[in-house]
Amino acid sequence: MRDGLVWMLWLAIAVSAPFFAGQHLLYNIGIVATTAAIVSGLTLISGVGGLISIAQSAFVAIGCYCAVLLNLHLGIPMLIGIPIAAAVSGAVGWLLGFLCLRLDGHFLALVTLAFSGIVHYAIINLDIAGGAVGLAVPTVTLFGFVMDSPMAIYVITVVASGLTLWFIGLLINSRYGRVLRALRQSEIAAVSLGVDRRSLRTMALATSAVAGGFAGSFQMLQVTYLDPHQFTIVSSVFYIAIMVVGGMRSVHGAIIGAAIFVFVPEFLSGLETYMAFILFLLVTVFIVIMPDGLASIFSVPGRISRWISSRFERKNKNA
């Protein structure tokens, strides 16, 4: 029930924004939506599945570049190319999972790290895709209309991200999501009950790749330019940070995390060159006092009292 209320809140913000927000705020809300949708893929594989993937920006890159190249070279309209691109991204994710998830889940982090590096350097040297210089993203046309006004882009991207978030949310609460969670909490028990660990996790990685490729392609409509610099190992790591800061157990955490990294820097902009220093100091403090993410804010008072009593107990024990 509370989950439904939170969804209503997001929907209300997304729908009312065009009426109260200026272009700047509208753009930021759009960026929060697409970033959250990209991160929601990680929520599935990492937050629910307990595996670490450092490939999310590589999947975003595959999605973006496929969609743009399909448009530039084959003339396929962006809105048709993007789902195809997301499917390609998913297929690559599946292959990656197939290759390394027969092993202990630990290896996923390592393989995806190397994979991120390979994708980045491949793009840089792929002249057909603009190479290191990058590519301008073509505009979207819908029924013959060019959708390049800020408002049109807002509507398109927010609808696409909303669908992604909603789908991942459903998946997390489905039977599939519950088995994935069981696998995280007790691998041995789940496997002994007949869960096919490898195919389940491979599908989770493929799904996260689809989410990254799909939402990432829509984010490119907001950014309007593909620069290989946007798709590095560092950006993959950054997505993980967004997920954890927001809360990694539900897609709401992804939304909150993305909002923090979009709005808090603006709030702190008076600090000029010291802004990022203070921002990440706050993030560190955040993680320590709220390790379950900001989505857990309502349980803070309880946690504080528990912490104090545990300290107290330990002192007594030592004495």
């Binding site: 307990g50 190397a114 954890v244």
Partner: protein, 291 residues
């Protein structure tokens, strides 16, 4: 041709010892605490900036400045353990890992703001003038990197093999509960690992920075250290060193015999191949954990 090959090997080994210096500490922390330290590159960078600060603004000479850098870095490791890692110790491992990402960003952006985004010159510990031996040029300051990583390796080996304290840490890494039963407190071990690895960060930085130029983004090199650690199996210290040197050599060879554009793709592809086909690293016997 032979000279070219030797020169390439030398360049690869030097770059590889840079990676190895980083990989050693990453493996140390990972084995001891279960955390992959994404702040390590930035700790390394910050250590050198402490040195530069002591020299330029406090007017100290090199030796005391180095000492201060190592001590400050060690204290910072202590702070990480007490303020961040200890409160997070019972959380899923991803949370302390992300905490290290944030700590790294704090260091990087703090130093960028305070010391400026431009490069600072760092004194070389040895001469940069090369010796030419049979058509191969050998640079003493580069050998310092190789030497340091060998010395650190030997020191760590001696520490863990021959001292009681080192043995205790090893025991606690292998079996925390068992160690606790025989009276080795787990908290003390992780604390000492954080201090030790942070001091190593400063030492590695001071050796590497004159070569690589000191900027706030120098810590990015830790990604290569991470790759080296993976190549070595992410389990043993000797593995980390061999992994680092191997990665350096692969890069140098690929850069020369294939093309400089393919250098990184080739080395990451080797990495993936190693993980997929020999998941415990190149040097350990296969022991895939089965349920």
């Amino acid at each position: 041709m032979v000279e070219t090959f030797i020169q390439l090997m030398l360049g690869g080994v030097i770059a590889g010892s840079v990676y190895a210096l980083i990989a050693i500490s990453l493996v140390l922390i990972h084995n001891g605490t279960g955390v992959v330290n994404f702040a390590f590159g930035d700790q390394l960078m910050a250590g050198v900036y402490v040195l530069v600060f002591s020299q330029h603004f406090l007017g100290l000479s090199l030796a005391p400045a180095v000492a201060i850098a190592v001590v400050v870095s060690g204290l910072f490791g202590l702070a990480i353990q007490f303020l961040v890692m200890a409160p997070l110790r019972n959380r899923p491992v991803l949370i302390p890992i992300v905490a290290t990402i944030a700590i790294g960003a704090v260091l990087r952006e703090g130093i960028r703001a305070f010391m400026g985004p431009n490069a600072w010159p760092v004194p070389f510990l040895l001469s940069t003038s090369p010796y030419h031996i049979g058509g191969v040029s050998i640079v003493p300051s580069d050998l310092a990197i190789l030497g340091t990583s060998v010395i650190i390796m030997l020191c760590l080996y001696a520490f863990f093999e021959f001292t009681k304290y080192g043995q205790a840490i090893l025991a606690a890494c292998a079996n925390p509960t068992g160690a606790l039963i025989v009276g080795i407190p787990a908290g003390a071990t992780t604390t000492s690992i954080w201090i030790l690895s942070s001091m190593l960060a400063a030492i590695a930085g001071i050796v590497i920075a004159p070569l690589t130029t000191l900027t706030p983004d120098i810590g990015l090199i830790a990604i290569k250290g991470f790759a080296a650690a993976v190549l070595g199996g992410f389990a043993s210290l000797p593995g980390a060193v061999v992994g680092g040197v191997l990665l350096g050599i692969i890069e140098a060879m690929a850069g020369y015999y294939i093309s400089s554009a393919m250098k990184d793709i080739a080395s990451y592809a080797v990495l993936v191949a190693v993980i997929v086909f020999r998941p415990t690293g190149l040097f350990n016997r296969a022991s895939i954990r089965k349920v």
